[in-house]
């Protein structure tokens, strides 16, 4: 009996919240727990997952990036421009990714090399990037219609969720980087004990730089897929994304300030946000209510998460 209670206690609270939400939502609509709806949820949340793992990487390394949404946006814009210029798909993807990498590299340079506070540097860059996005698009979205490109984010034949598959590939790539490369391990080292890592001979400046640049790369790829899915590059689409990404990271159990965390946990956080979003539609919450509701529920969840983590730390 005790064992069972212990097991239940070990389930992350976020999962329980998700479970309850799913049950509640499925009571409202028979269409909720259908394969088709789940596919749609997957398609809609997959890019957020990519941005969230970028946020998780930065947070693991003890940093913060408020420009992730903006990086995704501008990468989407350059991607759309490249598609419409008729470039081959591979090159298009590379351009999107490189745009993100370059933006992340700017963050990394400002933070790791020049020594700026992450939130100032990334907030400043956020403003700059949205400016560029608006200017490059003349303030209206750029439509793309190249079928080969759109395929990357399409729900092919209404069954094959290509956006989710593309994002899953990026996720596996990120997971590989986290667990099997020097970059991933050093992100933990810098977040956990930066001075210790430096004294152990780790070039912390370079690796910190690379963490931001890598996060930028992920957002760039996320931007490519988002444009493919929406078939339009909107110059302000990324507003609020970094908040949801950071929230997903925290809800996924990666705590702030210490070098702990795992991008696998972030999936749960993204799932919660995705289910909330789709559920609000099912429950017929008018779209106008949704930003406020989602914002409030996310904040409440973070508050609970932090309180619970604190309690657990206190027990030790």
């Amino acid at each position: 009996m005790n064992k069972i209670i212990k097991r239940i206690k070990n389930i992350p609270p976020v999962l329980i919240v998700i479970f309850i939400l799913v049950i509640v939502f499925s009571q409202f609509s028979r269409n909720y727990l259908t394969i088709r709806n789940l596919l749609i949820i997957l398609q809609q949340s997959s890019v957020l997952l990519v941005i969230s793992i970028a946020a998780t990487f930065v947070i693991i390394s003890g940093g913060l990036d408020l420009s992730l949404g903006a990086i995704m946006t501008i990468s989407g814009v350059t991607t759309a421009l490249a598609v419409n210029a008729g470039l081959p798909i591979i090159l298009v993807i590379a351009i999107g990714g490189l745009t993100g990498f370059a933006c992340g590299a700017v963050n990394g340079t400002l933070i790791a090399i020049a020594g700026m506070r992450p939130f100032i540097a990334t907030l400043g860059l956020q403003g700059i990037l949205y400016g560029f996005s608006l200017a490059l698009t003349n303030k209206v979205g750029i439509h793309v219609s190249n079928e080969k490109f759109i395929f990357l984010g399409d729900l092919v034949n209404r069954v094959v969720p290509m956006a989710a598959i593309s994002c899953a590939i990026i996720f596996l790539f990120a997971l590989y980087v986290q667990n099997h490369t020097t970059l991933g391990r050093y992100a933990y080292a810098i977040g956990g004990n930066e001075e210790g890592a430096r004294l152990s001979g780790v070039n912390t400046t370079f690796w910190k730089w690379l963490v931001y640049a890598f996060a930028g790369l992920l957002c760039g790829l996320g931007g490519v897929i988002l444009v493919a899915r929406l078939e339009v590059a909107d110059p302000i689409v990324g507003i609020q994304w970094e908040f949801e990404a950071i929230a997903a990271t925290i809800l996924g159990g990666s705590s702030l300030r210490i070098g702990k965390g795992d991008i696998r946990g972030t999936i749960i956080g993204v799932l919660l946000i995705a289910i909330l979003r789709s559920g609000l539609n099912v429950v017929r919450v008018p779209s106008i209510w949704q930003p406020a509701t989602i914002g409030t529920i996310i904040i409440l969840s973070i508050v609970f998460q932090v309180i619970i983590t604190k309690k657990e730390l206190g027990k030790k």
């Binding site: 907030l123 400043g124 700059i128 930003p291 406020a292 914002g295 996310i298 904040i299």
Partner: protein, 323 residues
């Protein structure tokens, strides 16, 4: 000797701010004849007023704990509430203002509570609150624009005190003077600085750090509400994203004014100068008809460049100190 060097760095750092302000004024007068006209100058200062009112609260928040990224959204929702109370419910404007400011203070309290009692870092909790509050503002106004308020409402934005001081400027001056007074001459101001400088030492010295942080964010929230009301009274219209464009410039204002991002150091006068710089830059962009999409980018670049220069100046001078 070392102390002198340190003082010198501070001096150079603050002189550079006045220098930048001066250079901008010169550049401004060169690019346009209108720039130095009385009308334009009063326009610049009036525009700066809203930013300064926000900036004073932001400075106090940053000195004590960290940035209040929700200020722009608090400003918005309070302006919206005040406008609706007057316009839709026909409430006497002063009561409406009072209620709006109380709402601002309450949201600040919520921020302070999440930061100090729950322990969520300020940039997360305030950033999160921002999105929730913007959501509510949007929910209330639904993309409409409320405009055309009564003369008494608009007095705060367009009226003149003693017949010659524009009301926003008068409000700004009162806020700045009280802000300076609080930070300099009260024990509360001391506590703000001490908590920002070293929270653990402050706690062990008997300062109620949680309460101090909550007060700082309450002040920031209250001033954000005030700024929102002044802005609406001035432009005679309100919509659900009115405060969105203010967040970045206000943060820029505070850091350009020399307030330390790590807390414990900074001044309200510095913020005033920073706000004037930003207001001149914005005015210059107006005069030069810079397209709107570039404006945020320019402000963003301005933040990064000023903070970068400050870091470089400090590095250079601490280097000299060693040699």
């Amino acid at each position: 000797m070392i102390a002198n060097k340190k003082k010198k760095v501070e001096l150079i750092s603050s002189l550079s701010r006045f220098g930048a302000l001066f250079i901008l004024v010169v550049i401004g007068s060169m690019i346009s004849d209108v720039f130095l006209s009385g009308r334009n100058i009063s326009n610049v200062i009036t525009n700066a007023s809203v930013m300064i009112i926000l900036g004073v609260g932001q400075t106090i928040a940053i000195i004590t704990n960290g940035p209040d990224l929700s200020a722009g959204s608090i400003m918005t929702i309070c302006a919206v509430i005040a406008a609706i109370l007057v316009k839709t419910f026909g409430m006497f404007f002063l009561w409406a203002f009072g209620l709006a400011i109380i709402l601002g203070i309450a949201l600040g309290l919520l921020n302070g509570f999440m930061i100090s009692k729950v322990g969520i870092p300020s940039f997360i909790s305030t950033y999160g609150l921002q999105w929730a509050v913007f959501g509510f503002a949007y929910l209330i106004l639904r993309g409409y624009v409320l405009y055309d308020f009564t003369a008494s409402f608009r007095f705060l934005g367009n009226g003149y005190l003693f017949g010659f001081i524009q009301m926003p400027i008068a409000v700004m001056i009162i806020v700045v003077i009280s802000g300076i007074a609080v930070m300099k001459w009260t024990t509360l101001g001391r506590r703000f600085y001490s908590v920002g400088a070293n929270s653990e030492s402050a706690r062990l010295s008997g300062v109620d750090t949680d309460k101090t942080v909550i007060y700082a964010f309450m002040i920031s929230g209250g001033l954000a509400a005030l700024a929102g009301i002044v802005l609406v009274a001035r432009i005679n219209a309100v919509q659900a994203d009115i405060g969105r464009s203010y967040l970045l410039p206000v943060i820029a204002t505070v850091f350009m004014g020399g307030t330390s991002p790590t807390g414990g150091q900074g001044s309200i006068i510095g913020t005033v100068i920073g706000a004037l710089i930003i207001a001149i830059v914005q005015n210059g962009m107006n005069l030069l008809a810079v397209p709107s999409e570039w404006r945020e980018a320019i402000i963003g670049a301005l933040i990064i460049i000023t903070v970068l220069i400050d870091i470089l100046v400090r590095k250079r001078f601490t280097h000299l100190q060693k040699a």
